[in-house]
């Protein structure tokens, strides 16, 4: 068997099989067991090395040929596979007690498989096409049944589709640069095309307007999944570019551009979040800020290693799943998610509201919570380079923190309609408590996450080495 078959085609087949199934519990259970199996397989099974158990021998080959090109999942990709399928397990598990599972799981599994294929395809520039296919699969996931598609979904489709031509064409120019490295005009054109392509794909400032719109319109858990999966894979795809092209990696302006864009995203995201009156939109802006943090972590670790960048992922996935899950619980009863309709909810939805606030605080970088160690490392690294830069970043965080204060105030307000007992189901309470405990544990013992990511640096040959 080949590794691409196991981690790409098998999930696609299962997604097709799960789509017509009506029983929600079966869908969730099968998908959770399957993604757990894929995560463990990524962690434990060697690729391109025979595994012998008694008389039985088994070997996962790394390559799969398709239409004259190859899908390659090398041994170095195993940690990335574990990250992607492990995070899918979190998202699928979170749908256990919500109605979103019937759409999220089949489409989510197919999207995950396609995004893995995007990073496995050789030549790697073709990834842009496969990412576009994943974008198209996201459309049914992000639309609401019986409602016209909103502006956020339309903009998501437009911006992600516009990214593809830029990246594909820049690939052609990059091949020209490899043949003729001295052509500065060509280098400049390629750099502009790559920048535009990734700006659209990663929803970089100012192309992120679709994120808050989408977070307002669609199911929180579906939006959370998309806003986790696409930026994560896109960043790894972008790092592949940096790793592959020396001139790009060594460009003097790269650091300035990424730092500026990262700071702009954090500051503008935090500032705009502070004025929001919709809980979904606040989550959207928090995601924009997290993308900014990823860009800063890349630049800070470009020479010394991308450790901080890799460590961002676990706190982020925990916080985002908890945030989206808590929002999903609330949205089932308060579909607008407007802050005005949330008065006094802490009394009747204590678990969901606590989960939401703690997830928000974790992404603010509050001490003792999961996001603190990594955010603190970024602030420290940035401060050693430029104090004004860290000032603007902290201002952005202050904006998100103001959101938390406003949310807590709204949830805690005494309101006559919020009398009665706790309304979450037992399963919802358990899942929220697990999320909260995990966020606290990772904040108190961040070193627990370290062994998980010791293998990720092997993904890149040159970057951060």
């Amino acid at each position: 068997m080949s590794a691409p078959f196991l981690w790409i085609f098998l999930p696609l087949i299962l997604a097709g099989l799960l789509l017509p199934l009506r029983n929600r519990n079966v869908v969730v259970l099968v998908s959770c067991v399957f993604t757990l199996f894929l995560t463990l397989a990524a962690w434990l099974l060697p690729i391109d090395t025979a595994l012998t158990i008694g008389n039985w021998s088994f070997k996962l080959t790394s390559s799969f040929e398709i239409l004259g090109r190859h899908l390659i999942l090398a041994p170095a990709d195993r940690s990335f596979l574990a990250l992607i399928y492990g995070s899918s397990l979190f998202w699928f598990g979170a749908t256990f007690s919500s109605g979103a599972s019937r759409r999220l799981i089949p489409f989510g599994l197919a999207i995950t498989a396609l995004l893995v294929a995007a990073l496995a395809v050789e030549p790697f520039l073709y990834a842009a096409l496969i990412i576009e296919m994943a974008v198209l699969l996201s459309v049914p996931l992000l639309s609401t049944s019986g409602q016209k598609p909103g502006r956020g979904l339309i903009r998501f489709l437009i911006f992600q589709t516009l990214a593809m031509p830029f990246i594909l064409f820049s690939g052609w120019l990059l091949a020209g640069i490899e043949a003729n490295p001295g052509d500065l005009g060509l280098v400049q054109q390629a750099a502009i095309l790559i920048s535009l392509g990734f700006s659209f794909l990663l929803a970089v400032f100012p192309f992120y307007s679709w994120i808050p719109l989408l977070a307002e319109e669609a199911s929180p858990i579906a939006v959370g999944f998309i806003l986790w999966m696409f930026p994560t894979v896109t960043i790894f795809f972008g790092l592949g570019f940096l790793d592959h092209y020396t001139w790009l990696r060594d460009a003097s302006s790269l650091g300035i551009i990424l730092t500026t864009v990262g700071i702009l995203m954090i500051f503008s995201g935090g500032l705009l979040a502070a004025f929001q009156h919709h809980l979904g939109r606040i989550m959207g802006y928090a995601v924009i800020m997290e993308t900014g943090y990823s860009l800063l972590a890349i630049i800070l670790g470009e020479k010394s290693g991308l450790g901080i960048f890799y460590l961002l992922f676990i706190p982020r996935i925990l916080a985002m799943v908890l945030w989206a899950f808590s929002l999903t619980i609330l949205k089932e009863h308060y579909p607008t998610l407007a802050l005005d309709n949330m008065k006094g909810l802490a009394r009747i939805w204590p678990f969901a509201t606590s989960g939401l606030v703690l997830a928000n605080l974790a992404l603010v970088g509050m001490p003792m919570l999961a996001g603190f160690p990594t955010h603190q490392a970024i602030w420290e690294g940035l401060a050693s380079r430029s104090l004004p830069a860290v000032f603007w970043v902290l201002m952005g965080n202050l904006g998100l923190f103001i959101c938390v204060l406003r949310t807590v105030y709204t949830f805690a307000i005494v309101h006559e309609e919020t009398q009665g007992g706790v309304r979450e189901t037992i399963l919802q309470r358990i899942l929220v408590v697990i999320g909260i405990v995990a966020i606290f544990l990772l904040g108190l013992f961040p070193q627990w996450a370290l062994p998980l990511w010791t293998r990720l640096p092997a993904l890149f040959t040159h970057l951060g080495q």
Binding site: L129, L136, G146, Q147, K148, I158
Partner: protein
């Protein structure tokens, strides 16, 4: 002779894209898009084998059929978008700007890419008109027409530099996927009514 046909294809692309911009009736939109794919086919077959170029043409027509069927199924009448500039004069004026800008750009780009002027101009024209389309509409059907126009323009120029079968297949899937997304957009609001 081939050179003349290249210019005829450009004329066809110009007429169809301006028509797409001016006509609000979806039947005209789908029909003009189908004609546009003939120009695309002509330019793609210069660099690709005719069989692969035909596949692109068929894919484009399939996308048109999907959109038309979805529109018939949705059965709604199109409302005029109140917030966007609607005047034909405005649209003709902006289309004129795009034609001039893409011509200026393609004069330089055709030398840089080593491709004929009508092909490069045609490609840029489609991309420019598609972007203009996206800029002045928010209707899902129109947005999909705009995206398909942009992709058609891109595919013309990309076919000259990349001849991989996998890329051709993936681009076809993306085109069909966009059409299906458009069909989904048009029919999703009908789900609860049926």
């Amino acid at each position: 002779m081939i050179s003349i046909l290249n210019w005829i294809a450009l004329l066809g692309a110009l007429i169809t894209t301006i028509g797409l911009l001016l006509h609000q009736n979806w039947r005209w939109g789908v029909g003009l898009l189908a004609i546009l794919y003939l120009s695309v086919f002509w330019w793609v077959q210069i660099h690709w084998p005719v069989s692969m170029a035909t596949a692109k043409l068929v894919t484009g027509w399939m996308a048109c059929v999907i959109l038309a069927l979805a529109k018939i199924n949705a059965g709604t009448t199109e409302k005029v978008e109140a917030s966007w500039p609607q005047g034909r004069l405005f649209r003709i004026f902006t289309a004129g700007i795009i034609v001039a800008a893409t011509f200026a750009l393609s004069l330089r780009a055709s030398g840089l890419l080593g491709l004929g002027l009508p092909l490069v101009w045609g490609s840029f024209l489609l991309m420019g008109m598609g972007l203009l389309h996206l800029g002045i509409t928010a209707k899902p059907f129109r947005v999909i027409l705009g995206l398909l126009t942009i992709l058609a323009g891109f595919e013309i120029i990309y076919a000259a530099v990349e001849s991989s079968t996998l890329v051709a297949a993936l681009l076809s899937v993306v085109n069909l996927g966009l059409a299906l997304a458009g069909a989904y957009f048009m029919n999703i609001s009908q789900e609860n009514k049926t």
